[in-house]
Symmetry: C2
Subunit: 373 residues, 2 copies
Amino acid sequence: MAEGGAWNERMCAVRVYNFSAGPAVMPLEVLEEAAAELADWQGSGMSVMEVSHRGKAFVACAADTEARFRSVMGVPDDYAVLFLQGGATGQFAAVPMNLTAAGDSIDLINTGQWSAKALSEAKKYGLDVRVVADEVASKYTSTPAAGSYTLNADAKYVHYTPNETIGGVAFGYVPETGDVPLVADMSSMILSQPIDVTKFGVIYAGTQKNLGPAGMCVVVVRRDLMGHARTDTPTILEYSGMAANDSMLNTPPTFGIYLLGKILAWIEVKGGVDGIAAINRAKAAALYDFIDGHPFYSNPVALDSRSIMNVTFLLADPELDKQFVSEATAAGLTNLAGHRSVGGMRASIYNAMPREGVDALIAFMADFAAKNG
Amino acid sequence: MAEGGAWNERMCAVRVYNFSAGPAVMPLEVLEEAAAELADWQGSGMSVMEVSHRGKAFVACAADTEARFRSVMGVPDDYAVLFLQGGATGQFAAVPMNLTAAGDSIDLINTGQWSAKALSEAKKYGLDVRVVADEVASKYTSTPAAGSYTLNADAKYVHYTPNETIGGVAFGYVPETGDVPLVADMSSMILSQPIDVTKFGVIYAGTQKNLGPAGMCVVVVRRDLMGHARTDTPTILEYSGMAANDSMLNTPPTFGIYLLGKILAWIEVKGGVDGIAAINRAKAAALYDFIDGHPFYSNPVALDSRSIMNVTFLLADPELDKQFVSEATAAGLTNLAGHRSVGGMRASIYNAMPREGVDALIAFMADFAAKNG
């Protein structure tokens, strides 16, 4: 099993390398800090989970998290940053409720199960949902080339999924949508590489991959797009009210906001998103290079569409899948089975997965192939 | 400051008595357990926050939490138990979306700001919302007597708030609604005393008072009331889909589910809801008796409507309010200021507030009055 590095041995003797697609690995330093102060936060004699969200201490904590997020991601002032509940699935409904009226049209690029879910939810809202590019024929192993599809100028927004967690497919570019707001579900790639926020109308991301535990969704929304929600939009999903109340119109998920702040501080130490991106690219390149160079392993994704967060791969003999997963788990490399809908393997190597974890996986894969290939 | 009892001194030298209305005090034993295993849950080498919600370990954890909740609260099989996001505010929208169509009528009993918020959200959904009893004239210091108001037989449901956190007002009875489903926001009193679940159609409760940290809402819904939601109900708020998928149609708030399980186990050790209720009644009686017997303090709430969870009180001289809060905080008795809308003081004494905390508060109050009264 993998050694826990600087981990305090009285609390945890060993940590594994956890390749879960989400909820997913978090930085060990963040877990250590949270554990140490779980019952006494800032010397208050209370847990951060026990204090009022309207008290001075927590209001300062939430403001710090938002400021760090804005700084790390590069979010301009004309965008609101919201900390909401309901995950990306909540936003599948919130985006049409906030940005459209019944009878409107929207464009959607379909590159996998997550964009398909966004499509399915949007259809509840009386919209003409036009799938302008559909990668289902490729079994979701590619993204459409820029310029290969036509967007509609009358669309209220264009929705896409920059990184599809299940297929391990990612866009190598940001679609140009002119005056039509671009909406992106960044759940599985947010803060993994630099993004020009000004190209987007709405960015949302469930927190359980790169931003902390499950139970929160970060929403970045251009302010001029707020204030036009349908009148029956639930308060918890309505952007302008949440923005006007610093996401505290109701009790926010305080522990998630607190942990996100710590994760952002950890990213800062790593050199910000630029620093993390360099590490991420090197991790992914090492793994893809190994897969491409080894006859026992293969990756089905088009070269220009490979995710640096979710690396899928197939064994030459699928009969060995179970054995692979079982031996990997025993070796401290957990949650490598591919999504149940596609099979094979998947190594999710989010920001918090250290390079050492990828190297350990590659070493294990080489060994497994030598013994069974 | 209050001694931390069995608290492990290497992690936390002192704990205060925290009277916050929510997020609120949690059992120290639960925080201790969570801290000790935060980076290595069940010897997995992973945090419970890092594991897949669809993995065996977490599925078993969630099933255990649900089973304990059913057992502790006494929830029959013909009710679903859901762990959703969005808090009670989410349910202010979810209840009308799941139980009504536009044009329907509902009845609502208004006893404070929380029922008023439920009313305001319900009005978004094209309903005839009839306020059948309204305590606003009493400044929300009482509940309507049973039989003093008339319910409408054609209502799709009757909504009420058994305990109003801000006013410290609670119903001493469960309204009889015949065949009309009774819906209750139990956020600030769930599991504080025995409840006959069969009298209710829907029970919901934000977790940040008696059930753990903020970020989750437990919903108990009679199964025959599910499956009739409006077609545009967001997936995260639609009961039947969530029930059919064990609340995992999307990624649930896994850390909240895990902590709720620990809190339920703690309640079991205290003798279940019956045991907790006896402690709660004694805590509240001691505090009310002191307030009623002391000329410096008063409680404005009608005797039959006093909450055993949120005890409000006024000082004889409101000019001393700030000094009271400040000296109490210095003495390790925190978050006693009343809600900003009503002023005065409020001691929230939820399940996790030990009797010793109430005794310490009473001793402080006596001392403060002797010095300043």
